[in-house]
């Protein structure tokens, strides 16, 4: 399967390990990723907070670049980019007036861009490969590791745009972890907000919301939280010390990308999966399951 790949700004910086692990895992699964040449930032929350047309305009340029690659599908591992790219894609398909305005704005034709389908990488893996296909690749099962599958907000919401899984009780990530031999825990916060874009501008919000997510995972007996979004991972990992200070509880919960765990189960080393780059070290957990 050939598919255009949109890493997004975070995966080229803070979430470098998410990028590397995604590429290696997809390669193993027969999903050929082709990075969109010269892609630009989706504008994230800042752009659609300022002007909806700016947001759709920035994403439309990326969709048009995919068309130039002669590909019809694009995937991104970032939930934020996914939300922006798919919103643009759905709106261009549904609204001809908007398309005309964006064409004027971006100075490009969007006829081909309208045909491009966008999916989060979790969706691509679950739909193109599925649980059985994943199981076939597992060499080192995760040995019942107790994991909190954290879908967060934007992979499944809004329902009409995301068109994937359930916005309140998502299960795709749990199924994937099961296929790797882990034991996903039942917990309350799998689709709750981590504070998202307020990481720097209002850190107290992230400490509060992130703290609730960590506490819920602890109460459910999770040994780590599994993320599918660089913002969720960064918030829960970098703010974990502040959250621990605030709540007076030592969580010590590694926040791991789902692709890193897939890679481990496919017998890549922890270092190849960039697990040494996490601030909350997963080494003790990995050793306890004979994975490090």
């Amino acid at each position: 399967m050939d598919i255009a790949y949109f890493p997004g700004c975070s995966l080229h910086a803070m979430a470098h390990e998410y990028d590397t692990s995604t590429r290696l895992v997809c390669q193993r699964l027969g999903i050929n990723l082709y990075e969109v040449p010269d892609w630009n930032c989706c504008g994230a929350t800042a752009a659609h907070s300022l002007d909806h047309h700016l947001s759709v305009g920035l994403s439309s340029r990326n969709l048009a670049l995919v068309k130039d690659m002669n590909l019809k599908q694009m995937t991104t591992p970032c939930a934020g980019c996914f939300n922006r790219l798919k919103t643009a894609s759905v709106e261009l398909k549904q609204n001809d007036d908007l398309t005309a305005e964006i064409e004027k704005l971006a100075g490009i034709s969007l006829t081909g861009a309208k045909e491009v389908e966008v999916a989060h990488t979790l969706q691509v893996i679950m739909e193109a490969v599925g649980m059985e296909g994943i199981k076939e690749q597992v060499i080192k099962p995760l040995n019942g590791m107790k994991l909190a599958a954290y879908s967060g907000c934007l992979i499944t919401r809004p329902r009409a745009i995301a068109q994937f899984d359930d916005p309140e009780q998502p299960v795709a990530l749990d199924h994937l972890l099961q296929a790797l031999g882990a034991q996903p825990v039942h917990w309350s916060h799998k689709a709750e907000c981590c504070g998202g874009g307020f990481a720097a501008s209002d850190t107290d919000i992230v400490v509060d919301l992130g703290g609730q997510v960590l506490e819920a995972a602890r109460q459910a007996g999770a040994e780590a939280i599994v993320a599918a979004c660089p913002m969720c991972q960064t918030n829960l990992d970098t703010r974990q010390r502040a959250i621990e200070d605030e709540r007076g509880i030592k969580y010590n919960l590694p926040i791991v990308y789902f692709t890193q765990l897939m890679g481990l189960a496919f017998s890549y080393s922890p270092r190849q999966m960039g697990l040494n780059r996490l601030l909350t070290s997963p080494t003790t957990l990995l050793r306890s399951r004979g994975l490090s």
Binding site: M14, A47, L50, H53, L54, C153, R157, D202, T238
Partner: protein
């Protein structure tokens, strides 16, 4: 009676409001594509909003204030800045009111009129977009340093610095895209269109 903590919003004369603010409400409806009258005030949005604890008006109240045309109170509120766009409210709304979209529209209108009670959130958004316009992508390190300098918190998160550098979590130079002109053009034309009287 006699409570000094009563909110200003509890004391408005609603009989004159609607006529005065009809055009504003119509504009919000047009720009957001959401009909404020769809909301029947069940409060499910507020019950599930993860940011409600920090807001001055509940999301449900913003909808009611919009229905009543309380433009000034809405545009001065912190609530419209604190929506994190998690879309929980919209997923649960029995009337499918796209509240995050309304919040975007209201925030933009507040900016146009020079209201930004959440100064740091506004500053961060501005710097983020400056970075995207300049490089075509976000330069995280520059963004964080710029934010700390401009918000006067010179040493914010400095304790994270060594670990982030050691784990190669931050790059010291921006990635610049080749066709940066195309991105700048999208920014500039959007602004132009807005000056020419907005888009549909």
């Amino acid at each position: 009676m006699g409570s000094k903590t009563v909110k200003k919003s509890n004391l408005v004369n609603i009989s004159t409001l609607f006529t005065e603010s009809r055009s504003f409400v119509a504009m919000v409806r047009q720009e957001s594509g959401v009909d404020e009258k769809d909301c029947y005030q069940c409060g499910k949005c507020s019950a599930g909003c993860p940011l409600a604890f920090d807001m001055d008006y509940m999301p449900r109240e913003i909808m009611r204030m919009l229905q009543l045309g309380m433009v000034d109170d809405i545009l001065h509120s912190h609530t419209i800045w604190l929506c994190s766009h998690c879309i929980t409210c919209y997923s649960r709304c029995p009337r499918s009111v796209d509240l995050p979209r309304i919040m975007d529209t209201l925030r933009l209108e507040a900016i146009k009129r020079g209201h930004a009670p959440e100064k740091q959130i506004k500053l961060f958004g501005d710097l983020f977009l400056w970075s995207v316009r300049q490089f075509g992508r976000v330069f995280e390190m520059g963004l964080i340093m710029g934010f700390n300098l401009k918000s006067g918190q010179f040493f914010k998160d400095i304790m994270l610095g060594p670990a982030m550098l050691l784990n190669r979590k931050i790059s010291l130079l921006p990635h610049k895209i080749a066709d940066g002109g195309a991105v700048k053009e999208i920014f500039d034309r959007t602004k132009e269109m807005e000056r020419e009287g907005g888009h549909s």
